[in-house]
């Protein structure tokens, strides 16, 4: 469905996700404006509940952007987030919503190009999936 503009939330951590997003701005990279960022200290803070709520309230896609595995400022927060993302994906499948609406990406604070690439990838992907079935 080419004419639908998804709304996608990106949870970005203080140490990697958000700086990469900011740097993407400093570098004047372009990525779709469908992405709206919510910044938290660590992706380990992102609750299963937050991810589900986003889908429940109508977000077409949600993803978390955390540090590269092994370099999390708080050690293992990003590992926890990944597990929760996987869990939410399974839950969504069980209730008939595409699990792949929820993803986890890892990068480092200066990988602005990656940030923009992932933003574009997610937007294209969600556009393909279509609107959130709950909408």
């Amino acid at each position: 469905m080419a004419d639908f503009e998804p709304t996608i939330i990106a949870f970005c951590c203080d140490y990697c996700g958000a700086p990469a997003a900011d740097l993407a701005g400093s570098m004047r990279l372009e990525y779709p404006s469908n992405i709206k960022i919510i910044q938290i200290p660590c992706t380990g803070k992102v609750d299963v509940m937050h991810l589900l709520r986003a889908i429940q309230k109508g977000a077409d896609g949600v993803y978390c952007v955390g540090c590269v595995e092994g370099t999390c400022h708080y050690n293992n927060g990003n590992f926890r987030c990944r597990e929760r993302v996987n869990y939410v994906r399974t839950l969504l499948e069980e209730i008939g919503i595409e699990g792949d609406r929820v993803r986890m990406y890892n990068l480092s604070s200066n990988e602005a190009t990656a940030f923009a690439a992932y933003a574009k990838e997610m937007t294209d992907h969600i556009r393909e999936l279509g609107p959130n079935p709950l909408n």
Binding site: S33, K36, D47, Y74
Partner: protein
């Protein structure tokens, strides 16, 4: 006598200049940070390691595999240097005590220590001159890379031959996820890459520099590691070298990890000519292998590991300022005063002092800050803006009254986003009672206006729609506090980086998104609550553990600033291992220096020395430690209150088990050889064979001990000076006379010392025969066995950490598997320990030269000063709070916290999360099954309201 200025000028805003500035600014000095480029960050901001395969990540990876157990109360992080560095850029840019002056240079400095008149010229303003008064100056102007065009046989003119710096830019620009490195000529993926080491370094022939640039071996290995990771097993990497100099802490481990990978080769060979095949763009390299066979190989790319040198502009600057340089244009310094220039009050750190890597630059920067600050200690705080905050207004019970200030940021935002439309939209949002739009919200004028509006409209929440929290958050928080509003009632809506800048070609979309962002932020602002930062007092006393050269220097550096110091030494006298040494390689008298230090320490009434001291117990946290010390053999116990701790427990020489040591009196260590030369000279010595890497770079002790090569060279030269006819052989694996030490290696060879290389797998053999000692080793050049009869064998025994198991346990300090104390971050926090308020210096941290120990001791003192200079420490209020009434004590939080902060208090029967120790990640909050833990400032509703607000609009 004029009052001394309370300001310091730092020249050059690279990683060293930034460190020095932050230390000084955090010690309440006013700082002018000048850079001739338009930005801060220097070389490091151009060369991020983007693959996390630098030394620090290797160490982090292995730590996670349980190499060394973490202790409680330490907060290990796995930060890569870039994350930390980006924060640091923001710290410097936003610090209220640091005035950043870019596109400017120093024209002249008149006056003297305490009262310098600096003339600055601003290139962005028609070369206008201005004058600034400061009390001391730090030069941290860095270096430039060697231009390999002078070495016409290396093929730099071909497109696929690049320097290390250019190679890193190429990797940087490759597409992430696709992991493809594209070579310049045809954008094809390279299949084989060759690195050429020592380009422009260790070269006295064609416009090269005779010294070793110290960093190229490590950066080449890093590049190999990065590119192998991206391109996988198929890529072949060959590093052509004379010696691999991975002498830094854990660098050898990194080298070992990289070189054992498939497709990675380290070749002991330098090449003659690189030629290009014009049809393919491939490069042909001809070299001679160990066995003497000449081989031709074709590579897709060649990387020239170019060295570092001092630019002409720095030389001219030094001349203008009357600063003496050495023959390589580095600033001349005395080994016992490593950061002092020839002009009192002007200090030097980083690459302008000598070739070195980041940890050493950052260390010297702190050392320079310590001395620069001490020069003007009586004026500490004088040049700072006095800020008085009014009493905080109690907003509890009030309905939210939100003010939204939308920024144009010049044309950065306003040029894309319709700011007026966003402002209008904001005024329609719930709880918004005032909106404004400004050209530059961070300007003094606008901030004054914000204050006025807060007061006039009785705003109790503020949303600034502009840039990033890291950038301007602290500044606007201060704006709120300055009119009585709790600083945590601020929300930043990033409509610049997240809208204007990234949707510049779609202004309508950018404007719409800006509105979405503002809507989310307004919803959050309504949910924000005032938070109180924990204020802890600082005990202005320092405890220094270890009375060697490092400990004494740290003690003096603090004592001279007027802080009380307790210096503990386990032996009966001060001095440490240095008492066993004689001269440095430059010829300085070590024992005389130690005596001097001891006299100074004893004469300083701020320093209390306790010898024969043992630490029995310790508890507390930054600013508030209490340590119990037993003195002597009896019951003489002391309870010492201190705000900071500096660990300087030193190290010793390895006692070899190899090569007949201990069995034959003709086999000595280098330290023993020094003694022998002092006592008996060398006229009776016919020959000496020295064997390197004894007790280092092996299974038991993987790291390099750093100082043994220069120690051998020092003694070899000494022998040759005393007895030119003595035959001296040095048997080595890699000669690691890094930096300016290379000149001594050259001198040793010039004096006729013969150097013979061996592999780890085929070490030399030592035999006792009836005619004397005989050493057998295969000469790699001739591929024949040598049998060397010799009078003396000297073993370059490594450096081993002293036994600090007790102290480490009692004070909960991390050590690595070799027993050296672990710093918080190998590159960017080289003297901090993970425990806040505790620092390490000297050989307790790792093997190093005396000059490096002195710099590190002064650096530890500088870092400690950032605590001691304050009366109180304010901690972030972003900490986890547990609702003990509803907590079911499942202990999930206790098990989940990466820093072991939540504890179950058995007496009170509840979970305690210390405000002082909590790191604010929120993991406990998210794992708590009953949601009875909330992370202040990121409480669940403060996050979910953004989701709701976004999707409702």
């Amino acid at each position: 006598m004029a009052k001394k200025s309370g300001s310091v000028m730092v020249v050059g805003a690279g990683v060293a200049g930034m460190q020095a500035s932050l230390d000084l600014a955090n010690s309440d000095y006013n700082v002018y940070l000048v850079d001739k480029s338009p930005t801060i960050g220097g070389m490091m901001s151009r060369l991020p390691c983007i693959g996390f395969r630098g030394v620090e990540c290797q160490r982090n990876m292995s730590a996670d595999n349980g190499a060394a157990p973490r202790s409680e109360d330490s907060f290990p992080t796995n930060d890569c240097a870039m994350c930390m560095f980006s924060h640091r850029l923001n710290d410097v840019g936003g610090h209220k005590n640091i005035n950043v002056i870019t596109t400017s240079e120093i024209r002249n400095i008149e006056g003297e220590l305490g009262n310098f008149d600096v003339t600055l010229v601003d290139y962005s303003d028609d070369e206008k001159e201005s004058k600034v008064q400061v009390g001391s100056v730090i030069l941290s102007s860095g270096s430039q890379t060697f231009d390999p065009s002078a070495l016409d046989f290396l093929g730099y003119q071909y497109p696929n031959v690049v320097t290390g710096e250019e190679f890193e830019r190429l990797i940087n620009e490759s597409e992430p996820g696709t992991g493809r490195l594209m070579r310049p000529s045809d954008k094809q993926e390279p299949k084989k890459i060759a690195w050429m080491q020592c380009v422009g370094s260790r070269d006295i022939n064609r416009g090269g520099n005779g010294y070793c640039s110290s960093v190229c071996c490590l950066y080449a290995i890093k590049e190999v590691s990065l590119v192998k990771e991206r391109m996988g097993a198929d890529l072949d990497c060959a590093v052509f070298n004379m010696d691999i100099r991975t002498f830094g802490k854990d660098y050898e481990k990194f080298y070992n990890n990289v070189r054992c990978q498939d497709g990675v080769r380290f070749m002991k060979a330098r090449i003659h000519t690189i030629s290009e095949d014009p049809e393919t763009g491939d490069l042909n390299v001809r070299y001679m292998d160990e066995a003497g066979t000449v081989l031709d190989e074709t590579f897709s790319m060649v990387v020239l590991s170019t060295g570092l040198e001092i630019p002409k502009a720095s030389v001219e600057l030094a001349n203008r300022l009357g600063i003496e340089l050495n023959h390589y244009n580095f600033v001349k310094t005395d080994p016992f005063q490593p950061v002092q220039s020839s002009r009192p009050g002007i200090y030097i750190c980083g690459l302008f002092q000598g070739p070195k890597d980041i940890p050493e630059s950052v260390t010297e920067a702190s050392a320079a800050a310590c001395l620069a600050g001490t020069d003007i200690v009586e004026s500490r705080g004088d040049d700072l803006e006095k800020v008085e905050f009014p009493e905080e207004i109690d907003v509890s019970g009030q309905e939210p009254r939100i003010g939204v200030f939308v920024c144009n940021c010049g044309v950065n935002i306003g040029g894309v986003v319709d700011v007026n439309s966003v402002q209008e939209y904001a005024s329609t949002l719930p709880n918004v009672v005032f909106t404004d739009s400004n050209l530059f919200t961070c300007s003094d004028e606008t901030r004054d206006r914000i204050k006025e509006m807060i007061i006039e409209h009785k705003l109790n929440r503020v949303v600034v729609a502009s840039c990033t929290l890291e950038n301007r958050g602290e500044m606007f928080m201060e704006t709120l506090a300055s009119c009585g509003l709790n600083k945590y009632l601020l929300e930043m809506a990033n409509i610049r980086n997240q809208a204007a800048w990234v949707h510049a070609n779609a202004p309508d979309m950018a404007t719409q998104k800006a509105k979405d962002i503002v809507r989310m932020s307004v919803a959050r602002a309504a949910n924000l609550n005032p938070l109180q930062e924990k204020i802890i007092p600082v005990s202005k006393h320092a405890l220094i553990i270890g009375g060697g050269i490092a400990g004494m220097n740290a003690a003096l550096s603090l004592g001279k600033q007027g802080f009380d110091v307790v210096l503990l030494e386990k032996d009966a006298q001060l001095g440490g291992f240095a008492r066993k040494l004689h001269h440095t390689i430059e010829g300085k008298d070590i024992r005389a220096y130690v005596e001097e230090l001891v006299s100074e320490v004893n004469a300083n009434d701020k320093i209390q020395v306790m010898t024969e001291a043992r630490i029995i117990g310790s508890k507390g946290f930054q600013g508030n430690f209490v340590t119990q010390v037993a003195v002597g053999s009896g019951d003489d116990m002391h309870n010492i209150e201190h705000g900071v701790t500096i660990v300087a427990t030193g190290a010793s020489e390895y006692q070899p088990k190899e090569f007949l040591y201990g069995e034959d009196e003709r086999v000595l260590t280098q330290v023993e050889l020094s003694d022998r030369l002092e006592e008996k000279g060398a006229s009776d010595i016919e020959s000496v064979v020295m064997i390197q890497c004894v007790g280092s770079r092996n299974e038991e002790h993987e790291n390099c001990s750093r100082i043994c090569c220069q120690s051998a060279v020092k003694n070899a030269i000494h022998i040759k000076k005393l007895n030119p006819d003595a035959r001296v052989y040095v048997l080595y694996r890699d000669i690691r006379t890094y930096g300016l030490l290379e000149d001594y290696y050259t001198e040793a060879r010039r004096r006729g010392v013969i150097f013979i290389r061996f592999d780890r797998e085929t070490p030399p053999e030592l035999k006792k025969t009836s005619e004397g000692l005989v050493v057998k080793i295969k000469d790699p050049v001739l591929q024949r066995e040598l049998e060397i009869s010799t009078d003396l064998v000297t073993l370059s025994a490594g450096v081993v950490a002293n036994d600090t198991a007790e102290i480490s346990r009692i004070m909960k300090l991390d050590r690595d598997s070799e027993g050296f104390f672990t710093e918080a971050h190998i590159k960017l926090r080289p003297v901090d320990m993970l425990n806040e308020g505790i620092f390490v210096c000297g050989t307790a941290h790792g093997p190093k030269l005396i000059s490096e120990s002195i710099a590190q001791a002064q650096a530890a003192a500088s870092r400690a000063t950032t605590f001691l200079a304050k009366d109180v420490i304010r901690l972030s209020a972003v900490t986890a709070k547990v609702d003990t009434d509803h907590c079911v004590k499942c202990l999930t939080c206790v098990r989940s916290c990466p820093f072991d902060v939540p504890v179950f208090n058995e007496e009170e029967n509840c979970i305690e999360i210390s405000e002082t120790l909590c790191q604010g990640c929120g993991i406990c909050a998210s794992v708590c099954p009953r949601q009875t833990i909330q992370l202040s400032f990121y409480e669940d509703n403060q996050v979910t309201c953004k989701i709701d607000a976004l999707l409702a609009g």
